[in-house]
Subunit: 231 residues, 2 copies
Amino acid sequence: MSNTMRLYDLAGANELARFSPYCWRVRLALAHKQLPVETVAWRFTDKAAIAFSGQGKVPVLVDGDHCVVDSWVIAEYLEDTYPDRPSLFGSAVGRSLARFVNQWTSETLHLAIARAIISDLAKILHPQDMDYFRTTREAAFGTTFENLATAQVANIEALQRVLQPLNSTLGQQAFLAGDTPSYADHVAFSAFQWARVSSPISLIPTNSSIATWRERMLDAYDGLARATPAS
Amino acid sequence: MSNTMRLYDLAGANELARFSPYCWRVRLALAHKQLPVETVAWRFTDKAAIAFSGQGKVPVLVDGDHCVVDSWVIAEYLEDTYPDRPSLFGSAVGRSLARFVNQWTSETLHLAIARAIISDLAKILHPQDMDYFRTTREAAFGTTFENLATAQVANIEALQRVLQPLNSTLGQQAFLAGDTPSYADHVAFSAFQWARVSSPISLIPTNSSIATWRERMLDAYDGLARATPAS
């Protein structure tokens, strides 16, 4: 494998606005494994730039001759290719249970956060992405961004119910994975990093267990996530 | 510790109808650790029978001179007291992530299942429990059992969205914990065992990944869960 990997990383109009939660999972996993990476700013409609990967979505990780896509597949690739580095999963059971956190984040948490932030997120996109994003996402939600914006307060309230198990877990332990963060934390935190980069709204009470953990995650890995500006 | 522990276990009018998901977590954990137990049928209003535990809920586990309450505390007690038996968590990370599954099951999954089954569950209770149960649960739900029964089809539909991350995870691996079940599986499965003992309705498509896993869990530990009759 090469010394420095390359990651195609979703960006907004401002190329510093790296907002993709799936790309953040990979960046945090790479930092956890102490593997350097160069990121390449990429937009939704830059399909040609990643055509070599055989598909049209990021994250795309290039490691020497290897090209790996899909954040979960990348995490397993990193764990299995670099077993001498700090573990992302801790054990076989840890890997299996991290997958549940992965699926819960992607299929439940993301949906609830998206309903609260997507109208703000639409505004930070590169102009070339705006039509694509609105068309695909409004179809997925079955409503307009304007309607979602109108319901923002109610959507933030609904999010609190979704967050309850995460909040109560983090009331008992510093990280999802225990005393130190690992891949399950990367995954769940990346959803909040997505919100932080995309929207100025506050999703959670500042005195909640999730808020305290989010601060810890912003500080982790030499402040990697905090170095990207909030919206 | 004694040879055989004693577990106070919630029962319906039929004392074979052991429906508590929290008690099932403990019974499966004990079976996993190959520890024999005698169960004592208990009803919600039998507060005097467990007054010695210093509180009014089951599961209550008596192990020689030790009395342990709360299913999560009991699981940690069993893991730490009997470390030579098969592990419930697999590793420290496995224990921490199992707690998230525990909280998600208790705070999200149970609520969604309860809305679908509680009007049926109310019918299998011991007569002495019926008033207590209706009063406390209708207050918690903010509606009557009759209204929940009327909305049963819609509530089963809403449950499918809650189940999506569990279903997609179990589409990738045989058990939440990987190739073999452990405590995270005991916790999540116990919610389905609760439904199975309490209600004749079908909660999930028979060809789903959850349904296949549920069958595996009914067979596990020499068919322990299957031996309790379905409603």
